[in-house]
Symmetry: C2
Subunit: 301 residues, 2 copies
């Protein structure tokens, strides 16, 4: 068993960021990510990469960050008092892709690692992450492909891993005030350390490359499908729900904003354009009505 | 001194809603408010009025609601345990106007009354409310007029009322993660009962009509000013900040969404269209740069 080692995680994460950016650029076919390196005054920094106005991607960001501190604040260790006062490091890759074509779903993925250390004691660490898909005009075969890819990557880590993390994802990406999920889900996990460092690291590696295997084929399949102003308007309306989730419920976003994180990198998840309309309703016989059936947790594979 | 009486407040509020809608429709010159009456299963209901695609107003809502319950939930009485278990009623008028022309500021106003009762004991009640202005391209004379109107209406209620509620407004409408206020402020107050029922009611009456006196002349002055795509894009970008405030910080919005309030009426405050752009910067010599100087609290009158 290899020792707990944040350098190994960081090296993997930077490589993953490169790999995902390359895959998205290739699928986009026109625009390139622009990199923005930033330093966090309190420790660490990041490598934010943003692609805008591409052939496929209207706005997307793939961020790497490594942040650290001398002393865990009480708010961060409220439920784990044994961590208070420890030095800590957190690193991760987080991405959101907002495609232009309403037939391509928005997607989000994240893998992260946290470690809190204290001289003379065992380090406390865990991994977290996952990926989830937010279609506007869902295609059942795309959703099945997405979940099948998730299930396949989970398989080597245990029979129940997919089901557990799939349900966790459905629970997490839920808009209570709308009584609907953000999209069709995928995987979500946190506090993962029970398998030991090496296996946990292998799992987030599988999640990282699984995201590419899950998303790129959906882009390719839908990117040339023609759409009109009606589909565009529905997409903008539904992006409003994405904003509502991220700003009202997403713990990562809220913790980041409240703890003095880098606002521009955190809010890179926001859509380039979104709209709200009072009491917007869709006709029960319309193409748009189909979406509501996808925003209730379901077993896809 | 007149007795504490929610019917008097409700009657005033409904009249205020009518008055504000009439004033906005007159200034708009084209569109009319559409009314939507709704009932709250747990008690009470509301009268939501929305105007869209007007000559001046892109989207605006003026809502009246009266909601009630048998028993105050512990979350609502955490800081006032003497209220736990009381029957309660809350009523208010709340409005947000999102004009189309970027030279007209977005505005918000709210007046509200809360009462908790228990057989054989004195009722516990308070008023709250205020109004605030969110310009995109601020005109100093408009901001001074806005604050002068606020100051004048506060005058009869005490020498320090304007200053206190103006500062409260600056503190409340503050986006911590952006280190800027939502706009140029105005008035904000809560838990108001120290003057007795009648004077407090007179104060919210003054705030209600003060809003009309403060806002309508600004609409009239700016509604014919020509603008282009550049101003429109800046307005949409800045509306993103409005969304961020409402969903991350606004206690009324968050409490409403968490407590099972009527989502469509609560989120009527959202702009019809908003955009986000990574690391958007304005040139220091530009017209847009002026705004940042207005998003720091200042004494206007």
């Amino acid at each position: 068993m290899s020792a707990v080692n944040i350098e190994t995680v960081v090296e993997f994460l930077k490589g993953l960021q490169d790999q995902i950016c390359a895959a998205i650029e290739h699928a986009d076919g026109q625009a390139k990510f622009v990199e923005d390196n930033w330093v966090r005054p309190e420790g660490g920094g990041g490598r934010t990469r943003v692609l805008t106005n591409g052939g496929v991607v209207e706005q997307g960001g793939v961020n790497f960050s490594l942040v650290s501190g001398d002393k865990l604040p009480p708010s961060a260790s409220a439920h784990r008092p044994e961590l208070a006062g420890r030095t800590w490091k957190a690193c991760g890759v987080s991405l959101v892709i907002h495609p232009k074509n309403p037939y391509i779903p928005t997607s989000h993925a994240n893998v992260r690692f946290f470690i809190a250390e204290k001289e003379g004691e065992e380090p406390v660490w865990w991994f977290g992450g996952g990926f989830d898909l937010t279609p506007f005009y869902p295609f059942e075969e795309d959703v099945i492909h997405w979940h099948q890819t998730a299930k396949t990557l989970c398989q080597p880590f245990g029979e129940s891993v997919y089901q557990k993390n799939k349900e966790w994802c459905d629970d997490y990406f839920y808009l209570k005030h709308r009584d609907e999920t953000r999209g069709v889900g995928g995987l979500f996990f946190d506090d993962l350390n029970e398998w030991g460092f090496e296996t946990c690291l292998n799992y987030i590696k599988a999640v990282g490359s699984g995201f590419i295997d899950a998303y790129i084929p959906i882009i390719e399949k839908r990117k040339n499908k023609e759409y009109g102003e009606r589909q565009r308007q529905f997409q903008l309306y539904r992006r409003g729900r994405y904003v509502e989730f991220n700003l009202v419920f997403d713990r990562g976003t809220l913790f980041g904003l409240q703890s003095g994180g880098r606002t521009e990198s955190i809010l890179m998840s926001m859509p380039p354009l979104a709209r709200w309309e009072y009491n917007f309703q869709v006709d029960e016989s319309s193409e748009e009505h189909k979406l509501s059936q996808y925003l209730v947790p379901r077993n896809w594979v």
